[in-house]
Symmetry: C2
Subunit: 223 residues, 2 copies
């Protein structure tokens, strides 16, 4: 069985939890706080980052959520998530990068640092300007999702893809940390609420970390 | 013909110049300074980042260097760069991510910001502590390359792959900016010098940007 070394509020770990669940790949979870920089974990992933994937029987260690997502899309037929023409696949991967890098850098990472790492790990006060910036940028990203959803059935085209899983994973962490104001984003909200009611999403919505509680609407599938 | 919107010291653009050249895909270069945030460029790539790729005849726009690399590996047979078993391909992509994210974040991005953006764009003095940190981390990354090259023929295994192109592209920018001290890294230096003499590398070594000159050894293929 696969063992996913993950952190509950790590959006890259969440992307793989969604992906493996949608593809029907069984796995167990092993909690790893990458901010604790545990020496043993660097032996599993030399970058020290979550997620990483090991297997109890096979001598294989995988790291980097995009590399792992490609691996499962290549090896497990069910619910292809990087599918279509070469140009269509490039569009899926462009959006995966956009959410993993730009949404992450603009929104999720500053929220995690201000509302989780500072509060729980360093016991310092959050920087309200950094929080305001993150929320302003979240609003721009939601505008882009509104635009995509108004023009396509799913973010990258006619079918659900890794782009949707990636965006939903990032948003779910930002939403947990109170960084998402859904007002004025009906299209994005509609797209996200479909996700929230999928079975693959339920374990994510049930997760809690010590010291930071999500807003009430976070796990409400009708909100 | 493809048109690559690139910036001379952008390692992600350089990765694609190497890849397209190795795969024999003809292209023209269009210089774009992403730090200038030109509005028209946001219409080509909504993130405003280099590289992006357009085509004079086809209605297609590609962005994100990993998405584009996958596109060419899927559509052009010559010199496959993401090849092998699923596990081998995952290893290639793990290393691509490591160099694109960790080497970039630890080394190339701080060097670009201190030695190029600050000097040329903002006319401010570089922060010597940030430079020292970047060079210390560069040394650790070279240790890792030494280790890989001592255990494998190429970084990800028996054949040259996108991992090699990605690492060489990052290192070439760091080397241009004076951030690489090769002493004590004979294995990494040997691996890199093979690259430096490949035809695909010559245009990169000939590039210069205003205001920052590379060290003497930078374009010396015997150094
Ligand atoms: N490219 C990686 C990024 C993973 C990543 O940044 N993980 C964060 C947690 S959400 C981490 O481990 N940060 C600690 C660090 O970078 O040292 C992936 O897609 O898996
Ligand atoms: N994931 C992107 C990263 C590209 C990137 O970060 N490009 C830099 C130049 S080297 C850039 O455009 N920076 C300006 C910005 O982020 O606003 C890729 O692989 O193409």
């Amino acid at each position: 069985m696969w063992r996913l070394h993950h952190f509950a509020l790590c959006p890259f770990s969440r992307k793989l939890r969604l992906l493996m669940s949608e593809k029907g790949v069984p796995f167990t979870l092993e909690e790893e706080n990458p901010f604790a920089m545990r020496e043993e974990f660097f032996l599993i992933n030399p970058t020290g980052r979550t997620p990483a994937l090991t297997h109890e029987d096979k001598d294989i260690t995988l790291a980097d959520s995009r590399a792992i997502a490609e691996y499962f899309d290549e090896t497990v037929e069910k619910n292809p998530m990087i599918n279509g023409t070469a140009a269509g696949r490039a569009e899926i991967r462009r959006l995966v990068a956009l959410f993993d890098e730009n949404f992450w850098g603009d929104v999720t990472a500053p929220l995690l640092s201000e509302r989780y790492a500072k509060r729980v790990v360093a016991r310092a006060a959050p920087d309200s300007r950094a929080l305001r910036d993150a929320m302003r940028l979240a609003d721009q990203h939601l505008d882009y999702i509104d635009y995509l959803v108004d023009h396509r059935r799913w973010l990258a085209g006619a079918t659900m893809s890794l782009a949707d899983l990636t965006a939903a994973a990032q948003i779910s962490v930002a939403d947990y940390l109170g960084g998402i104001d859904w007002r004025g984003h009906e299209s994005a909200r509609g797209w996200y609420s479909v996700f929230k009611s999928r079975p693959s999403f339920q374990p994510l919505l049930a997760d809690r970390v010590d010291g930071v509680a999500p807003p009430r609407h976070y796990s409400d599938v009708n909100a």
